[in-house]
Structure formats: C-alpha cells, structure tokens
Symmetry: C2
Subunit: 246 residues, 2 copies
Amino acid sequence: MPAKNDGPGDGATPSKSEQTRALILETAMRLFQEHGYDRTTMRAIAREAGVSVGNAYYYFEGKEHLIQGFYDRIAAEHQVAVREILARETDLEARLAGVLKAWLDIAAPYHEFAVQFFKNAADPDSPLSPFSPESAPAREEAVGIHRQVLAGTRTKVPEDLKDALPELMWLAQMGLVLYWIFDRTEGRERSYRLAERGARLTARGVALARFRALRPLVREVHELFTDFLPGMAKALPDPSARPPAP
Amino acid sequence: MPAKNDGPGDGATPSKSEQTRALILETAMRLFQEHGYDRTTMRAIAREAGVSVGNAYYYFEGKEHLIQGFYDRIAAEHQVAVREILARETDLEARLAGVLKAWLDIAAPYHEFAVQFFKNAADPDSPLSPFSPESAPAREEAVGIHRQVLAGTRTKVPEDLKDALPELMWLAQMGLVLYWIFDRTEGRERSYRLAERGARLTARGVALARFRALRPLVREVHELFTDFLPGMAKALPDPSARPPAP
C-alpha cells in the first residue's frame, strides 16, 4: 500500500492512519473529560486534534463512534493485560480476580470521565450502553475473556452452561463497573475488594453449577438477561461472528 | 391536641398538618417533574404551594427530605396495594408477581420524574439512593413486604435464610426498578413482563434454597451486598427497629 501522505483513504500507510485515529480518539476522551460528553462537538475535537472536520468524520462517524472506539480500546488493552495471569493461574477464583483487577487498573485514568458519562451509558436502549447492539464488538471481546477464564481452569463446566456462564460472568463484571463508577475511596480500594469477593463468589457459584438441579435456574437467569437487554439476544446466536482476540 | 390554626408546631390538628405536608410534597413532586430536581428550590416549592418558606422547612428540612417523604409515601401506598393479593394468594410466584406489578402500577405516574431523577439516586453514597442510611425507613418497609410475601406461602424457607432472602428479593426488585426507569415501551409493558419472569425465577431460586449445598452461597451473596452497599449493613442488625406496617 503506497504511503505518500496522511489523507485518509488515499493511500495513507496503516500506521499513519492508525496514529491519526488514535490521536482523534485521545483528544476526544480528553475533551469529554474536561467539558463533558454532551457539550463536546466533533468540530471541537477535530480542531483540538489539528485535523480537518472531514478527516475526523472519516475515522469516526460521530461522537457515539468515538465512545465505541474507546470501548474497543479498553477491551483490547484488557486482553493484553490478562494474558500473563491467564497463562499462569489455573485456579478459577484467582483467574477471575486477576481479570477483574486488571480491568480496574486499565480503567483507572478514566474514572472521572466514567462518572459524568454514566448518565449516557446507563440507558440500555442507548447505543452507548454496554448492552446495545452497537457495543457488540467490545462486549464480545469482554465476554471472550471470561470464556478464556473458564476454559483454562480445572473446574469442570457443564456443557449446557458453556455459553451462559461467560455472559453471566461478564454481567457480574458490569455490576463491578457500576460500583466502581460511584466508588470514591482512595485508589478505588473498595472496588478492588469487591473484585476479590465477587471472584470468590462466582467461583463458588460455578462449582455449584455441577448440581443438576441448579442448571435450569442458571440457564433461566441467563435467558432472562438476554431476553430483556437489547443487543444481548442478538449477540448470542453467533458468538463466533467475531472471534475473540488471541 | 388543640386545633386552632394551621401554623405548624403550635397546635395544628394532625389532619390539617398532614394536609399541609401532603400539599408541599405533591407540589414538590410536580415541580421536580417540570423543572428537574436540581433546578427546583425549596423557595419555589413553598411559593407554589402557597406556604411560607419557614413552613415548608418545618415539614421538610430540605429537598432530600422531600424525596425521602416521597419514598415513604410510595412504600406506604405499596403496602396498601398488596394487602389483597397477599391475603388471597399462597403461591410464592403469584404473590411476588402481584407485589412487583402493584409497585409498577403505583410508580406509573412518576415515570418521567424517575428518568430524570435517576442520576441523583444512582450513586449508592447519595442520601437519595435506595441503599443509603437515609432511605432506611422506606427500604425497611419495602423489605418488610417481601418478608410478608415469603411468610404467607407454602414454600418452606430455611431458618438461616429467613433474613437474607427478603433483602435479596428487594434487591431484585431494585433491578426491576432500574429496568423500568429506562423502559420506553407503551404502558411499560416490558417491565410488567420482566416482573412476571423475575417472580418465576425468584420462586424457583427460593425453592432450590432447600438444598443445603446452596445455602452458604445465598448467604454469601447477601453478605456481599450488605458489606458493599452503604446503609444496607446498618439496616440489617436491627430489622425490628421499625416494624413493617401491618
């Protein structure tokens, strides 16, 4: 691919293009943090990033797409961050606690933004919600991490819960995220403790799922969430549509 | 008690006093709905209700207390509304579905308010959160309803879960409330369906709690919530401090 200039779509090298994309995304996140999501325009983001408005729109169709880009980046960073712990640990509780705490580490710089952005993302019908069809790529990647968490443990997971459990674990993680958003303790210390407690509890729950009597309940809880959260149902039928990053 | 005039604290009849209190509360709720909670002042509420500012402050120390008064009223109305179904039904699922749907009926006029008020109540550290120490009276009353739901059924509840289950059922109800806030379907039709599905699932869960292997998990889930939600822990040690309304 020729690499002559930095204009999008006219032969920019991927790396230059990726750099511009990252620059716009970082600028947007900074402006969102400083002025709030609602009050930040694409025009202001382009100006601050030193690109043309058309260029900004080339990379991101709008502010919502910037947020999706942000979600995707967090998900990708999380994938990298958990690699080591997932390669080393075989204990379910330790794996899950490691995964949850790695997420808290990565999200730390965005806490202030998350607090004010919450009102936009809390509505399950908003494209900015983690449950929306628009958030499916980032969600699939995040659910994929929980699939890895389970796959690499000695804990035996019943075949009929193989799909439901990772999604339920991700839902529990969303509970932790909600808690973290409102956590005002120094260094979000309580969120880290909740991550550990939650991991212990989840590991116990998964271990109990070996009881046949329980499985229909677990499946029904999972069905309830997928039936009532927009985008979740759609994400389910084809989990292989976008394979989780390695 | 002498009944000479309508000034507070100087001999108003309870009914006149209660009327003034109700008038202030209703006026406040209307102004909150029209202009938003944050932008409505006690002064504006007093003016609109035709009482002096001092009088308004006599009944409610501030806006937060108006919200608590509102929570208390919803809880009291709910108690009355569920009386009939709790007297008639012995099936756990039917009792719980009735209780949840009665809440949706009562809350219907306040849906618009709930949507915009959500950002104030979502923070568990806010006195306006349903999990706060300040909300304890309304919460205790609401948990009391779930205690009644369980007490009047044929389903046998293990002794060691008698305290935890009603609180967990109330937490599930808070999940429904969260869903309802964002429900834009006609007549909140999806929330009613979620109430039914949730009731079925909860009834199954309670039935499964007879398995000894499961009880520690239920207790631990309950402990996790009470340890991490401000006000919940405090509400627990003395559930009899404020007996639930009959």
